[in-house]
């Protein structure tokens, strides 16, 4: 289990130089993905960051077409993509495909996962799946105000240490925590904080052996492919989409040194 020091629990806040650029997302330095379960206030976080007014709905699949926005922070320009709210990244639904493909192949500089503080356990399920396919993520624990009303006390510093990524508490509807979130995103994007994401081992008989046998072949076909463990597990599961990516060369975009020229492949 990977561990790292808590990146954001102690750092002092600089004045947020948040510059809202709306939809003018032409030239950007970093691409940020926004993922999360339905009903976690993901779109409110998005609106807070970009100044766009995107509707937040109480449903999964609300933003099936990606919403995009932009902002500038500490002199760098960011493009942020609001992914569909999903419970998981493993299923063959259009929503999850969009989210999965964007994080995996779009290679965002940072993936923000928004979680509901009152249902953290359920939301961490998605976070752990996201950490499987990206190295750079920030967890935004939203609805802290409601968690307080529910009598919940959260140890975000401890959670951050164990997850190996920055964890920021927020109450986005009141604008609480947004400066801290920006700070954490910039830290990860600019490499000041290095994430060491928690990737628990799966105790499934035969899995380690199967992955160990598959990895050299995968590396031979696609030298330097990143997130090879995930690719191997999807192939072992019989996922048609991943098999197609292997067959038609699409997987080549996953090389660690590959520079994503165009973020994401979906419309």
């Amino acid at each position: 289990m990977a561990r790292t020091t808590s990146p954001c629990a102690t750092c002092a806040l600089s004045t947020p130089q948040l510059d809202r650029l709306g939809l003018d997302a032409q030239e950007v330095d970093y691409v940020v993905a926004l993922a999360g379960n339905p009903n976690t206030g993901k779109s409110t976080v998005f609106n807070n960051l970009t100044g766009l007014r995107q509707h937040t709905g109480n449903w999964p699949g609300k933003t099936i077409a990606r919403a995009e926005g932009a902002f500038a922070y500490r002199g760098a320009r960011y493009r942020i993509v609001d992914l569909p709210g999903t419970y998981s990244l493993l299923s063959a639904t259009p929503d999850e495909e969009v989210a999965r493909d964007f994080i995996l192949f779009g290679k965002p500089a940072v993936t923000i996962v928004v979680a509901d503080a009152t249902r953290l356990e359920r939301n961490l399920n998605l976070l752990l799946q996201v950490l499987h396919i990206t190295d750079r993520a920030v967890l935004c624990v939203n609805f802290l105000d409601e968690a307080e009303a529910h009598g919940l006390v959260l140890d975000l510093g401890g959670l951050s240490t164990e997850l190996g990524i920055p964890v920021v508490g927020a109450a986005a509807r009141q604008g609480r925590g947004i400066p801290e979130l920006l700070e954490a995103v910039a830290d990860v994007a600019e490499g000041r904080v290095e994430c060491r994401p928690l990737r628990p081992r799966f105790e499934i008989p035969g899995l380690d052996h199967a992955i160990a046998e598959l990895l050299p072949l995968l590396d031979h076909a696609y030298p330097g492919v990143s997130h090879a463990d995930w690719v191997a597990m999807r192939l072992l599961e019989g996922d048609e989409e991943m098999a197609t990516a292997v067959r038609d060369g699409h997987l080549g975009e996953l090389r660690a040194d590959h520079v994503a020229t165009e973020a994401g492949g979906h419309e």
Partner: protein
Amino acid sequence: MSDDPRRDVLDAADRLRWDLPQNFRDRWVEQTYAESERLASAYVRQDQPSRRLAWERRLDAFLTNRWTGYPTMVLMLAVVLWITISGANVPSELLATLLVDRGTALWHSLFAALHAPAWLSGLLIDGIWLTTAWVVAVMLPPMAIFFPLFTLLEDFGYLPRVAFNLDSTFKWAGAHGKQALTMTMGFGCNAAGVVATRVIDSPRERLIAILTNNFSLCNGRWPTQIVLATIFIGVLVPSHLSQLVATSAVLGIALLGVVFMFGSSWLLSRTVLRGEASTFSLELPPYRPPRVLQTLYTSLIDRTLIVLWRAIVFAAPAGALLWLITNIHVGGLSIAEYGINALQPLGWLMGLNGVILLAYVVAIPANEIVIPTIIALTTMTTAAAVGAPETTGVIYEFSDQNVLKSLLVGAGWTTLTAVCLMLFSLLHNPCSTTLYTIYKETHSAKWTTVAALMPIAFGIVVCSLVALVWRALGGS
């Protein structure tokens, strides 16, 4: 090892899969959840009992109870419709005055000052501008009120409870409980209702909701129903009852739409959609106080303006078309008259006439312009232009319903015509905005065609049967 390394990967994966348990995916998810549980229990502590949970539970119990839940739903729907209808009246009239009356006059004087040829001002102003302005005036205010109200209920968390309450009813028809919401949305606008089906994450149930949304009598069709019910149905009874009877007739048509929605959902789920993959999930999210101002703003952008924009895009060419077919003459007759004559036999069979059917062909972009188009075509053919403007092919409204009635009766309309038109207004193809939306949502020409043809088939059959029985019983 073969010389194709990609093939090697896939072959190895296929071979190695047999060494893994068959429920590999189950275990994957199970262990991820177990890890989440461990993390949550380590870093989240319940310090004191929840103040929130108690009232959330009580509210849930009230809203989903058999005796309190259903009345609350009906009350909510009634309040939303009442606010929409009464609130839309004033701005609608204002927009009509501004855009249709003043705007048209302004354009005409401008064109006259520029010495523009008559055909140009006819096509641009009387055709395109007038039709588009009409659609905006009729469509914008109710949608700008209806959708934000709907969105507020959604944000609060009430709508998932409605879906929960009605799920067993919709399940009977092979549909999803959330279809109750997309259906209700359809009363505002079918295109918006079709977009709203995104919340249904089961492929089969979503298609059912898309294909049957047209049976919700939309905002563009209510005025048609009300006008016909008032001048043809209401007058059949003593005057103190006429209002009541006319209103009942309109509500009866809307209810008939719901019946057709259930019936066709049932039919679709057991025939053409039988083999589509199906799953059910419905989360009841926590109640959250809606943020009113932001909701007004976002739902205006998200729903109202997008739908309105599409309507304008489709209404403008229709206005041009209407003007052209009534003003271009071939061999002494306008193109419209050829069309009317060709459609007359089918129209008669369905208890309608050629004018009405042609109006539906021309007015495919928006149901709002059906009645104005009918009036325009009727005045053109009857020459009994009672108080009509001098130009032809122009849509306009009669402020005096008696004048309208005498025009229609003069053109041969009977009670049967009105009844069949009310039915056909419910049971015909969706407007082109909705069809385009269906195509965008399904990416399928096949399902778009089904969505267009299914209701029109119902319409032809139902109207023809009504006309047949009516005439057999000696009605006229």
